[in-house]
């Protein structure tokens, strides 16, 4: 199995350190480190929050293709999908946590849980969802973890001891296979439970925005669906990229799996494009001033490149073109995946921030000249540094998880043999 190189782990670890320092700085100084205003109350951190929640839900739903819908030809990417789902969800929650005006009051969400708030429901969804994916990942890896615990020493033994939760794998081949089948069955059941949860997690995150009737750009039933489909895009794209870079190149079905992953990615991208075009055309045709103003700002405003280069170029055109012409090259498919993963960031920015540029009361934009009331926003340096820092932290944690966790199934013979000896 390939490992993530040490230089990369150190680099991302340093980036993660910057992230942690900037979080501490933000907690000490307060929300004034951001460039947010009362008119644009949600910015970069919320965009990254929905980005990572989407990445998580997308990765998880992608894993259900394998464990629930039996897509055997991409099975090798299954564990990676679950692990990245856990890590991405934690990243998303970290982003929304530092975005709170009173971060230390976050427990209020449970203490004073308010049933009419989509956000409150989402917090519950995140909790149940993370329990389910943790459980599913554990069931799938328990025998490998037990094996690794029994064969390693020192720090690794302790680590695997904790992660395996004291599980002992059967040692005879017959019983081991039964155990393996049981794990897959549990994974299927948890996957089935997880599907509505994941849809709730990300469709619901879309609903946070879609229920806001004050903003015509958000207030549309297609909005949560766009969230879900673009989540699937980012999940499939992430798996394509990760498998292309980290998968076992010597294995005979490597390219085959990779092409299948790329195919799923392109399918989801096409769906996403369809929804995006529908949203734009219907919105523009409707000619509701607030709505049209937002759409025009997205396409031709000062940040036009987020739409044309990020959302359309990197997340749609590049992956599709690569898939059409270069689907037999692992390098190009990795690039396609990476391009889509980064391009979806643009999608997330454009889902959140432009909704605020249209003043809900016409004329308000001329009343205010105080910085914190303007209908304009560009992230502050602290927001950029902390975002890049948290992303580095996530990459760092994933790299460690990849190097230490049994991301790809160990061959049965290996586990049985060792189990027989001990």
């Amino acid at each position: 199995m390939r490992k993530v190189p040490a230089w990369f782990i150190i680099l991302s670890g340093l980036g993660g350190l910057v992230g942690i320092i900037s979080i501490i700085y933000r907690l000490i100084v307060g929300m004034k480190v951001t460039n947010l205003t009362s008119s644009v109350p949600w910015g970069e951190w919320v965009a990254f929050y929905i980005y990572f929640i989407g990445l998580s839900a997308g990765s998880f739903l992608f894993s259900t293709l394998i464990y629930v819908f039996g897509q055997k030809n991409i099975e090798k990417a299954g564990r990676m999908a679950l692990v990245s789902a856990v890590i991405a969800l934690i990243a998303g929650l970290l982003f929304v946590w530092i975005d709170l005006g009173h971060p230390w009051r976050f427990l209020n969400v449970f203490i004073h849980w308010h049933y009419t708030s989509v956000l409150a429901w989402e917090i519950l969804f995140y909790v149940f969802y993370i329990i389910v994916i943790f459980a599913e990942a554990w069931y799938l890896m328990r025998c490998d973890l037990a094996y690794l615990r029994d064969t390693s020493s020192g720090f690794r033994k302790t680590l695997y001891g904790i992660l395996s939760l004291g599980w002992k794998c059967p040692t005879t081949e017959e019983r081991f296979k039964a155990c393996h089948i049981q794990s897959l069955k549990v994974a299927t059941v948890l996957g089935i439970i997880g599907i509505p949860l994941a849809i709730g997690v990300h469709g619901g995150t879309g609903a946070i925005f879609a229920v806001v009737k004050a903003r015509p750009y958000w207030y549309s039933p297609i909005f949560p669906i766009i969230f879900l489909v673009s989540a699937l895009v980012s999940g499939a794209a992430l798996m394509t990229f990760l498998y292309a870079v980290l998968g076992d190149k010597k294995s005979p079905d490597y390219m085959n799996i990779l092409r299948n992953l790329g195919g799923w990615m392109v399918l989801f991208i096409s769906l996403d494009l369809l929804l995006m075009v529908a949203e734009l055309l219907v919105g523009l045709y409707g000619n509701i001033p607030d709505h049209v103003y937002v759409l025009k700002t997205i396409m031709f405003g000062p940040y036009w490149y987020v739409f044309w280069i990020g959302q359309m170029g990197m997340a749609v055109i590049v992956p599709i073109v690569i898939y059409i012409f270069k689907r037999d090259s692992a390098f190009w498919l990795a690039l396609a995946g990476l391009s889509a993963v980064v391009g979806i960031v643009g999608v997330r920015f454009n889902l959140v921030i432009p909704a605020f540029v249209a003043p809900p009361i016409p004329g308000l934009e001329d009343v205010y000249n105080q910085f914190r009331l303007l209908f304009e926003y560009f992230p502050s340096l602290t927001e950029w540094i902390s975002s890049i820092g948290i992303i580095s932290l996530v990459v760092f944690i994933f790299s460690l998880a990849y190097n230490f966790l049994p991301m790809f199934e160990l061959p049965v013979e290996v586990i049985i043999k060792k189990g027989g000896e001990s």
Binding site: G30, M31, L100, H102, P360, V367, R372
Partner: protein, 286 residues
């Protein structure tokens, strides 16, 4: 329920009396010679000239009457006569002074619309306080139930519960909510630190709070609350008191004899964004 003590009320009455008298002096005396000796305010003469009392006196009487009822039988509404509004921003400023609002927190901006092109330009103004909707879109979205509608219809924020997620800011169709970023007017200005006026306690909702310690309301959503702390002491909201054109009215809509009840019964009354079903309690006379 605290009602203003009689002494204060008397002083206020006297004060208002003098104001009215001052405004009307020239009419009363039509003097040939105006010297210090012959100025003598005769209220009986005054009342002949100025038949109607100042709407503020009327509204204060309405307010006192409403406060005698239990809270759930009151229904506070605000009426803004856009024909009388001259765009002086006195309400905006007095609101900032009353609630010690920091930079970036504004409860009642005055929106200006310019009609026509130079040289044929006209302006119209309308102040935009919180609408205190009967179906507020901002309260159901709060994940911690920190903002809610009181029995008397005033939409309030529990500063100690609010986690500062700003979901309510996005949900308000009137942009009536602002976020307290914890800034001060003299941040980074000069070497003397904060000016005394910036460290005065705010008394919103009748609770003394010190913003300088980075505690609530810093990091909270903030909005107009119809000056609840004043209402409950028998005083009108600050924007109503300070409106130089008497363009802002306030009172109990459940009381058919109140001034606001009479005003909102007129045909030329509108509310903003009726199509959203928010049922605002701020009415505009146009």
């Amino acid at each position: 329920m605290k009602v203003m003590n009689p002494k204060r009320r008397d002083i206020l009455k006297k004060f208002i009396g003098f104001m009215v008298a001052g405004a009307l002096l020239p009419d009363v005396f039509k003097p040939k010679k105006l010297s210090a000796q012959n100025i003598k305010v005769d209220i009986s003469k005054l009342s002949k000239v100025y038949k109607e009392e100042d709407p503020i006196v009327r509204m204060m009487r309405d307010l006192q009457r409403a406060l005698k009822k239990p809270v759930e039988q009151r229904r506070w509404v605000m009426v803004i006569d856009t024909r009388k509004c001259v765009g002086c921003n006195a309400c905006t400023i007095s609101c900032i002074a009353e609630n010690r609002l920091p930079p970036g927190v504004v409860y009642r901006p005055v929106v200006e619309h310019e009609i026509g092109e130079y040289p044929n330009v006209r302006k119209r103004f309308f102040p935009r306080p919180c609408m205190h909707c009967d179906n507020p879109p901002c309260t159901p979205v709060c994940p911690v139930n920190a903002t809610y509608k009181r029995p008397d219809g005033v939409v309030v924020i529990d500063y100690d519960r609010c986690i500062g997620c700003r979901y309510c800011l996005t949900a308000c169709p009137y942009n009536a909510r602002t976020f307290d970023f914890g800034e001060f007017y003299t941040d980074g200005v000069g070497i003397h630190g904060l000016m005394p006026y910036e460290s005065i306690y705010t008394e919103e909702y009748g609770v003394k709070r010190d913003r300088t310690k980075k505690k609530s309301p810093v990091g909270n959503a903030r909005k107009c609350h119809f000056c609840l702390h004043r209402i409950e002491r028998g005083l009108l909201p600050m924007c109503v008191i300070t409106c130089i054109g008497r363009a802002t009215y306030f009172g109990d809509a459940n009381d058919p004899n109140s001034l606001v009840s009479q005003l909102i019964g007129q045909p030329n009354v509108i509310r903003l964004k009726e199509e959203l079903g928010t049922e605002p309690k701020v009415y505009y006379i146009i």
